[in-house]
């Protein structure tokens, strides 16, 4: 059975998705990252592909056990002022079903 949708599981899945993109700090949970801007955490060389990395990681993490959720094929828009909390609220929660 897919894991229940609740705030705790969603945040854990989001942390796992971020960690899948190679941000080790995300394994501590996303709350510590929430206030940080995406573009100060992701080196220049990886800016370009970061939205694709996020969607690819969400597919691999959330579409498999233990989550077993469906994932809309939409990349997030990452701007200079995008925080990880914005990604969680405006992108991650919306593409998962």
């Amino acid at each position: 059975m897919p894991l229940t949708f609740n705030e705790e599981n969603l945040k854990k899945a989001f942390a796992d998705t971020l960690a899948g993109t190679n941000i080790g700090a995300a394994t501590q949970g996303p709350d510590a990252l929430f206030a940080k801007l995406v573009k100060i955490v992701v080196p220049l060389d990886m800016h370009e592909g970061y939205p694709s990395r996020l969607l690819g990681s969400a597919n691999q993490i959330c579409g498999n056990d233990p989550y077993g959720w469906s994932v809309d094929q939409r990349e997030p828009t990452v701007g200079d002022d995008t925080t990880f909390e914005m990604l969680y609220e405006n992108w991650f929660k919306v593409i998962i079903s």
């Binding site: 897919p2 949708f5 609740n6 705030e7 969603l10 960690a19 899948g20 993109t21 190679n22 941000i23 080790g24 700090a25 995300a26 394994t27 501590q28 510590a32 990252l33 940080k36 801007l37 573009k39 100060i40 955490v41 992701v42 080196p43 220049l44 060389d45 990886m46 800016h47 370009e48 592909g49 694709s52 990395r53 690819g56 990681s57 597919n59 691999q60 579409g63 498999n64 056990d65 077993g68 959720w69 469906s70 994932v71 809309d72 094929q73 939409r74 990349e75 929660k93 919306v94 998962i96 079903s97």
Partner: protein, 401 residues
């Protein structure tokens, strides 16, 4: 007409608009693709399928009736289409997914209850459709360095990249997939005083494929590109800064090495330092014979290199790079094989400001964490396109290093 009458008309108009807005449930609708896991008899997920649905954004109301499929009607091509199921979750109450056989359908409309039908937009980001997006991934980064050997001399490094066009290709169903094709403009180089730095630039327009691979729980990327590249370097005898020394095709391959960033990933997990753990990146490029500005033929060449970063904390980030070039027929004055290396020790400017209070007075106390760096860089050898044999030590400030 009196002011009182005008006010009453205005109020009535506003009420009418508000009433009209309340009467519509659907704010916007678009054709959407969703990757859904399929559980086999043993309960294990071993494949995922692409489902098509109409993704509906509601006005700010979460009525439970939106989850009732009998309330929705979908039409396309003059026919009423089936509604297989409805997806609606309380954590995203303004999003509803209406699932059905909508793959490849155009001119779709969706209707809630007896409300006005709403036209379904075709999502330009959908896989399998031609999606061209302009200007994604544009970046211009600059460094300024002061050479420690000759303190009055400065060098400027730049790195520019911009996606002109992009086309999404596939859905990642396995551990390896090609995400997109793109047309990019890239340029990088160094400018500084004559004979003291490797003055030169490389600019190209390229078509690239972007593979992704998922290994050991982490995502890695690569790039395969076909470019037309122009290289310039400073001509010391004529003092010409942008002397075109080669323009030719270039076939390039770049890849991130799986597992190579595990030590940094583990360290960041333990310390909470929020920075992407960069994998070891390798690249190989082949340039066939080209021409210089005067039309003279230039030699074919292989370029290859590796780059790695150890980001221990904001106080110590070490980046190392090694590059080599091998000529088919070496130009006069150059060996057939050349090499170059650099090591940069950097600190985040934010922590430097905290350590040196007077910098806060000069630069302000607004956080610039992760945006600006100060660094000390050592480099030696010949690097394309200047191939000037130098040993340099420099201190600098920049948005990359």
């Amino acid at each position: 007409m009196t002011m009182a009458k005008l006010s009453r008309i205005a109020i009535a108009f506003v009420v009418l608009i508000a009433f009209d807005a309340r009467a519509q449930t659907v704010k916007q609708a678009s054709l959407n693709e969703t990757l859904s896991p399929v559980r086999e008899a043993d309960g294990v997920i071993n494949r995922r399928i692409l489902k098509y649905n109409i993704r509906i954004v509601l006005f700010e109301r979460g009525e439970s009736s939106v989850a009732d499929k009998a309330m929705w009607r979908v039409s396309g091509g003059g026919k009423t289409l089936a509604v297989d199921s409805i997806g609606w979750r309380s954590f995203a109450p303004t999003i509803v997914r209406v699932y059905g056989p909508y793959k490849g359908q155009d001119n779709l409309t969706v209707q809630f209850g007896s409300e006005e039908p709403v036209l379904v937009a075709v999502d330009s980001a959908a896989v399998g459709r031609i999606r061209w997006g302009f200007g994604k991934g544009k970046a211009l980064e600059l460094n300024v360095r002061r050479l420690t050997s000759q303190a009055s001399l400065l060098a400027f490094d730049y790195n520019l990249s911009a996606k002109v066009l992009e086309h999404n290709l596939t859905v990642p169903n396995g551990a390896l997939w090609v995400r997109s094709l793109s047309l990019d403009v890239v340029s990088n180089g160094t400018f500084g005083s004559k004979d003291t730095v490797r003055n030169g630039s490389q600019s190209s327009i390229q078509v690239s494929a972007h593979p992704f691979y998922f290994v050991g729980g982490l995502i890695y990327t690569g790039q395969l590109s076909l470019a037309y590249q122009m290289e310039t370097r400073m001509n010391a005898s004529s003092n010409k800064l942008l002397d075109v020394v080669n323009h030719s095709l270039k076939l390039g391959l770049q890849a991130e090495v799986p597992y190579s960033n595990y030590p940094m990933f583990a360290l960041h997990s333990a310390t909470g330092y929020a920075r992407l753990a960069m994998p070891l990146t390798v690249d190989v490029g082949y340039l066939p014979e080209g021409q210089d500005a005067s039309g003279k033929s230039t030699s074919s060449r292989w370029d290859y290199g590796v780059r790695y970063e150890l980001a221990f904390s904001p106080y110590l980030i070490i980046q190392g790079e090694w590059r080599g070039s091998m000529f088919g027929t070496p130009p006069v004055g150059l060996p057939s094989q050349t090499w170059y290396y650099s090591v940069a020790f950097a600190q985040d400017l934010d922590v430097v400001k905290k350590s040196l209070g007077f910098l806060t007075l000069l630069l302000g106390d607004e956080s610039t964490q992760g945006k600006h760096f100060v660094f000390y860089k050592i480099s030696a050898g010949r690097k394309a396109p200047a191939f000037q044999d130098l040993k340099e030590q420099s201190i600098g400030f920049g948005t990359y290093f």
